[in-house]
């Protein structure tokens, strides 16, 4: 337990992705089975204890601590689990805490009525950090900034196996993952699991380089589709069970019961998850309301119904068709749709074109009139290859929108950038006033960052904690993918994917954009 508590603390406190990885690799290397598998399950959210609830733990504490003092403390600390860990009044058990596997066994064997006493005695035996870790993992309220993907990457680094191979087997495995570690340690073959019912790493595209690539490519070899502004998903329907995975293999089925509950037929499909009435995609903002939730809210199911615009097929029934060329997979997909009528799935249409110039025009119009993100180009003969193979699929994004905005506030960055003012809030004119429209923290070089940092320090007019307000004199050319109405910003505008395109040291702030200039971007989406 001590090693796992130390790992959790490192994961919470280090801002660096690499150091999180290092810490996990070290833990997986030095911890025996089955403890490391349980640790992995806790980190990835695969192991929870139904009988341990934060409110139940609070009751244990309230037997020992005055309720008013508890309330004052909770108010100060702000996190129930952490309050419980810090306030527990009895310390100094003589024995160390049991191992992770013994703990898990204890939790599972102990009756609900006995659990409070057990946890109380564990808290007494624990050191200050272990108490924190114990409460965190017992209640499942980890919030330590580790995604399943990061944990899998750590396993890949530990073993030298490609992360894709780990992802492929991941969903067929069970806690405490002994067969996985046996394979990763090189003691056994890769675990064999049901191929039609688990996540398959996705095939990704490369951005097209208009100058270099287009002249080398023959338009006749390619098909085009719109690039949809949702999230990439993999839908797996096998033997009556429907799963939905994000592009990183996170299971998001529970957040989209409206979609998963309405699928007919068996297949593994690749497509874009969108929301909207009658297959009419709503802005990404609306989809965002439904993301990162464990379950769906009733009102969201009616306001933002989900659907999947399907563009590829990996398994037809239980048959793996990834080795077939795109044209054949598409034909299979269309047949499958014909045989299995769907209410929450539709086919991504093929965009007809004869040459690159014509497609460029179609792409421009699609962006202007329908807010399309761009077009996808797929080689007709391409087989379905996981990862980002060269030369098969291209994305041709629309040209970014740009606006000249004025730097208003700067904030220090994180990790390597924590001594630099690297997060910038910028705004545009609204009458004589400047109103913020967004925030960006990349798009500039390291050298430019140094110059900006210096500029911020020399032009600070006020400080609010970590934030500096600066003279409203520096203009950024900000690029962004789209603009939307927003109630969050005073300006009423929110930018999607903003980045600093250029620093306009030369441009006076008076010549920056106005809020009226922003209206054209709003009406385009």
């Amino acid at each position: 337990m001590r090693a796992f508590a130390a790992l959790m603390e490192t994961l919470v406190l280090t801002p660096s992705r690499n150091r999180k990885l290092e810490a996990m690799v070290e833990y997986f290397r030095s911890t025996p089975d089955p403890d490391r598998g349980l640790g992995l399950a806790i980190l990835t959210g695969a192991l929870t204890f139904k009988n341990v609830k934060p409110a139940g733990l609070r009751d244990i504490v309230l037997d020992e601590v005055d309720p008013h003092l508890f309330a004052l403390s909770y108010d100060y600390v702000g996190d129930l689990g952490e309050t419980i860990a810090l306030i527990w009044p009895h310390h100094g058990g003589t024995e160390p805490l049991p191992s992770l596997s013994d703990l898990v066994e204890l939790f599972n064997m102990t009756s609900k009525a006995e659990l409070p006493r057990l946890i109380g005695s564990l808290l007494t035996r624990a050191t200050i950090n272990e108490r924190w870790a114990l409460v965190k993992f017992a209640t499942g309220a980890l919030r330590i900034g580790v995604s399943a993907r990061l944990a899998k990457t750590a396993l890949a680094e530990m073993s030298g196996k490609p992360v894709q191979e780990i992802e492929e087997v991941w969903n067929g495995l069970t806690v405490p993952y002994t067969e996985l570690f046996d394979w990763l340690d090189g003691r056994t073959e890769r675990p064999d699991i049901d191929h039609a019912s688990r996540f398959h790493p996705l095939m990704l595209s490369n951005p097209i380089d208009e100058e270099k690539d287009l002249e080398k490519l023959d338009p006749k070899d390619f098909v085009a589709e719109w690039k949809w502004d949702g999230i990439r998903v993999q839908l797996i329907a096998a033997r009556g069970k429907v799963s939905l995975f994000s592009r990183t293999g996170d299971d998001i089925a529970d957040a989209f019961p409206d979609v998963t509950g309405a699928v007919f037929g068996d297949a593994v499909l690749d497509g874009e998850l969108l929301v909207g009435q009658e297959f009419d995609p709503a802005p990404f903002n609306d989809l965002q309301q439904r993301l990162n939730r464990k379950t769906a809210l009733g009102k969201h199911l009616t306001a933002y119904p989900g659907f999947i615009r399907v563009y590829d097929m990996l398994f037809d029934g239980s048959e793996d068709i990834r080795a077939l060329p795109w044209t054949e997979r598409r034909a299979r997909l269309e047949t499958w749709f014909a045989n299995n009528p769907q209410t929450r799935l539709d086919l991504s249409p093929i965009v007809q074109f004869d040459g690159w110039d014509q497609l460029a025009e179609i792409r421009r119009k699609g962006a202007a009139e329908h807010g399309h993100e761009g077009v996808m180009l797929k080689l007709r003969s391409s087989v379905y290859v996981p990862g980002r193979p060269k030369g098969l699929w291209y994305k041709w994004k629309r040209d970014p929108n740009v606006v000249d905005a004025i730097l208003m506030y700067a904030q220090r960055g994180h990790g390597k950038r924590s001594s630099f003012y690297s997060d910038y809030t910028f705004g545009v004119w609204k009458g004589n006033e400047i109103v913020p429209i967004g925030k960006a923290y990349f798009g500039f070089t390291d050298e430019e960052l140094k110059q900006l940092d210096k500029w911020v320090r020399n032009n600070t007019v006020a400080s609010f904690g970590p934030v500096r307000e600066v003279n409203k004199e520096l203009v950024f050319e900000v690029a962004f993918d789209s603009a939307q109405q927003s109630t969050r910003h005073k300006s009423g505008v929110a930018l999607r994917f903003p980045r600093i395109n250029r620093i306009r040291w030369d441009k006076p702030a008076t010549e920056a954009a106005t809020l009226d200039d922003m209206q054209v971007f709003l009406s385009a989406t």
Partner: protein, 333 residues
Amino acid sequence: MAAPFLDRDLRVIPIDAYIDPPQPRARAIITHGHADHARSGHGAVLATPDTIAIMKVRYGEDCAGQFQALEFNTPLVVDDVTITLVPAGHILGSAQVVMEHRGQRIVVTGDYKRLPDRTAQTFELAECDLLVTEATFGLPVFQHPKPLDEIGRLLRSVETFPERSHVIGSYALGKAQRVIALLRDAGWDAPIYLHGAMIRLCELYVERGIPLGDLRPSLEVSKDDLKGQIIIAPPSAIKDRWSRRLPDPVLAVASGWMSVKQRAKQGGVELPLIISDHADWNELRQTIADTRASKVWVTHGREDALVYHCQQQGLEAEPLRIEAYEDGEEEVE
């Protein structure tokens, strides 16, 4: 008890002297050298010799009209008030003010801790009728772990990351010297590197008889030579431009506040060291009981919980809201 001879601004009424006054006063009794207790510009200052030395280093030789040094445990009679300064254990020279007047005894603790610390004279208990106590960590969530265990965590981190430097954000007066002394006691014999703001106060501690081992200014050392080394700096410097000269620093902060992980995280602290120079919740309660005071005034921190606790014990208790300045980006100990 009779009406106290101390008012709620900590004015000792019979002699018109203030304890740790925030504004310049004709007569001030100063418990210790931290900026929120010791200010410049008073007419006459009564304090321990160490505290006077600290004030002179921080504010200049003439930061008060006159100084009167009073050794610990040496009663001084002013009119009909007997004043004794008793060690508070907070930092070098820190004192509790013990006062007696017509049979009534009042103790103002100033900031204090009861754990032994070789950079400060060890706390001594003084019984009284009215206790004016601090409450910096006056919530039951503050239960400080053993300081040497925390230093152990630091040394393990140094061992784990030999290519990185470790910079410990510590308040320049008191905490810095305590951390250095703890490191020495834990067997760390290597040079410890200091941010410029630490140097003069460390020298003062050494001059006044507290050995701190080999200390060097961090400025004079190349980035490479700081790998695997420990550097002490004010908390405000560890995330600022100054820290860019350090090789891949692990940011540590030594403070009682560090027990709250979310707080450490928000501050960008990678290695929180829970090392406090204040009494924790259990020490505060213990001390209130030990002094046998029947009346308690609570100042300086999270008063509500401690006042409530005293009332639960049947003591008369109230919070004192004394204006003390809050430091925006970091909390002073």
